[in-house]
Symmetry: C2
Subunit: 415 residues, 2 copies
């Protein structure tokens, strides 16, 4: 069979690589590839650029279709040069699940369930790439702040690759995330603060410890991993984009990455100029991007006293704020905030009506979909995609107390 289902770096052929250079996302300054980079000299995220013409001659949609699922199938679109540096924990093409009972009249509502990736979240995409590139560039110690899922993904991939990790998370991070980081070989600290406080500890520790800082958008490659969300979605929809994408927005890497994916796909002629409306979803308790969007601002300052139990989107300040806002505006989309109550209700409704368990951040996108239909900002006939960024199983659900005594006669009329 031509399909290989075990990704074996030891026997895999090297793929051609099309990276030409890196580039500051703010100033456009050109930076050399094959070197360590954090933020650009201007203190902004760095983007990877490819020779897209050569890339388009090297791979076809038909060839891609024959490859096993999982984001490593997009090798030509990714920066890893040597196949031996690929790190794989069994990636899958995350499924599209239509919610037919909950869709707007005449439209389509589709969940892209990122919870099926290794470690149960979309963070696997970015961190697999960051870890593979760390391996390629000879890095042996990584550090990162996390709200939970990113830390788990980094620990698992780094452990698999033989790289050491140190991770800092807010003290109220869900227990399962803290435990899985450590259990999977990372070293984890709880901090009495939010993710930006944790980020500060990583930043200040870089020099004394020799850590490489893997924070969101502070190295160039997590965004390339998240880009595969856009490549994969377009492929799954037959190289078309949907009308709207609802994306739970913390650091925003995925939204920025998908936007980059669509740009690259259009450049090689695989999709047309149509773009989905990119909708950044936040919580009313932490909505810096929504505020900046509504004020017409380019940047989103620190949101004071951030709170929401959807911890993945509790990100008071994002280094890629201008990139998120740019993609949202260029796409004709918008930024929208939903309450924690709306998140809870949306989560319960999707589970009880469709049997689909969303994580709180994924539920936020469904809440935003409903709100946007009411607002009239999207049409009921739209084909809308919701990103469920993690498995709902990591989060507490309402406990059940109903008991039966096997030693007593059972009144079945009451069951």
């Amino acid at each position: 069979m031509s399909q290989r289902f075990i990704l074996d770096p030891a026997v895999e052929n090297d793929f051609p690589n099309f990276v030409t250079h890196l580039e500051c996302s703010y100033t456009g300054e050109i930076l050399p590839a094959n070197q360590l980079h954090g933020l650009s000299p201007a203190g902004k995220p760095i983007l990877v650029r490819y020779d897209l013409k050569a890339l388009s001659n090297a791979v076809t949609k038909e060839e891609l279709a024959k490859r096993p699922g999982g984001f490593w199938r997009y090798r030509e679109f990714l920066p890893v040069r040597e196949t031996k540096n690929i790190v794989s924990l069994g990636e899958v093409m995350t499924p599209l699940i239509p919610l037919r009972k909950l869709a707007g009249k005449g439209g389509e509502l589709i969940v892209k369930d990122e919870g099926r990736l290794p470690t149960g979240s979309f963070k696997a995409r970015g961190l697999a790439l960051a870890v593979a590139m760390a391996k390629e560039l000879g890095i042996t110690r990584l550090a990162m702040p996390t709200n939970g899922n990113a830390g788990a993904a980094m620990a698992a991939y780094a452990t698999h690759a033989g790289i050491e990790t140190t991770i800092f998370c807010p003290d109220d991070t869900p227990e399962v995330n803290v435990s899985e980081i450590e259990y999977q070989g990372g070293k984890v600290y709880r901090v009495n603060g939010l993710i930006n406080d944790c980020g500060k500890i990583v930043g200040e520790g870089k020099e004394p410890t020799g850590w490489f800082d893997c924070s969101t958008l502070k190295e160039p490659y997590r965004i390339e991993g998240k880009k595969t969300m856009g490549l994969e979605l377009a492929e799954q929809l037959g190289w078309e984009v949907p009308d709207v994408i609802f994306y739970p927005t913390g650091g925003g890497t995925g939204l920025i990455g998908m936007w980059k994916a669509f740009e690259e796909l259009e450049a090689i002629g695989w999709i047309g100029s149509k773009r989905p409306k990119m909708i950044a979803v936040q919580s009313t308790g932490c909505a810096p991007i929504v505020k900046a969007y509504e004020e017409g601002a380019e940047h989103a300052p620190l949101w004071e006293n951030a709170f929401t139990h959807a911890s993945g989107i509790r990100v008071p300040i994002a280094v890629g704020d201008f990139l998120i806002l740019r993609a949202v505006r260029e796409s004709g989309g918008f930024a929208i905030a939903v309450t924690d109550e709306a998140i809870d209700n949306a989560q319960a409704e999707a589970a009880r009506v469709e049997g689909v368990l969303l994580c709180p951040e994924g539920a936020a996108t469904y809440a935003a979909y409903k709100q946007s239909l009411v607002d009239g900002r999207i049409k009921s006939t739209d084909r809308a995609v919701l990103y469920n960024c993690a498995t709902g199983l990591k989060y507490p659900m309402p406990p059940i107390a109903r008991m039966l005594d096997k030693n007593q006669p059972i009144d079945y009329s009451k069951i």
Copy 2:
């Protein structure tokens, strides 16, 4: 593109169906298809039989290779007649993850990670089929005993299909399982007993309530769903079987199902006569199959005072005992018991060394692999497959207490 990634029963063409009849697995008595069946008149599990010659003329390996991942790709091998009865929650082809650091010298150790299926366990396979067939046969109320994951899968698929479910589980079933059943639209009761006590409640309630009993092997279709584990594994390995399969054995449906898959694949000429050694893995606290295997018995009586924290294999008596034992013996395999301590150690080792989080039952298979290498019952050069039957995220991990105070100076030399 020819690949469709959204399984849409409404627009999908019907596939040809090759079911000829059903058959008692013990007496061989022939039973009609397209009717409701529980156990056979002899009180034994019922198997579905196909016109394999016609089937082999209707589909090729090459055609299969073009279909989207997920077990519905094996439609010709499955009993559902009308496509509109298919129930899908986004099935994926579960990945094979090589554990290169833990494999025996010169051999291969591969985890098949069933935790990526809807509701996070391999139970999705059997229950998707049971629910689809219930829909096809006009059943509106299902009931089942569960140790957790089967109940979650049944609730999710039945809710998606608009079917009512009532589920009974031991009172110490993990909280996440109990909650997710109810959250996903099932009605769940805790019972002060084990899964066989719960099964009794279902059995006695059938008449007064009108429930259809979906217990393991007490209806004919869950085994057809589990059969896809064998079809999928063979396809992933290029239509070859591995040398050994370690399978965590409670009710044993998957082991029986895979054995049936290999038989059907050989009958249509897709694989040869080679079979993997089928190894039934149990816990030393609940090992009825191991005891019967060692005693040369055909059946495995109730195991008294069963205990193990790997609750999925805490099954004191299995209605398919003789089918499990038959497959194990015919394959040249064996049944093996591991201690809870060995399970814990195996789980921690896989996580810390490979970054792969196994569930306790999956960890039992890795413990059994190690024990079998020491015993000499398998060879270090074997290609061995471990079934990780559920996501490890559903189970508690050791908690972490390490704290940092953001308001104090940090001594990075101690981090």
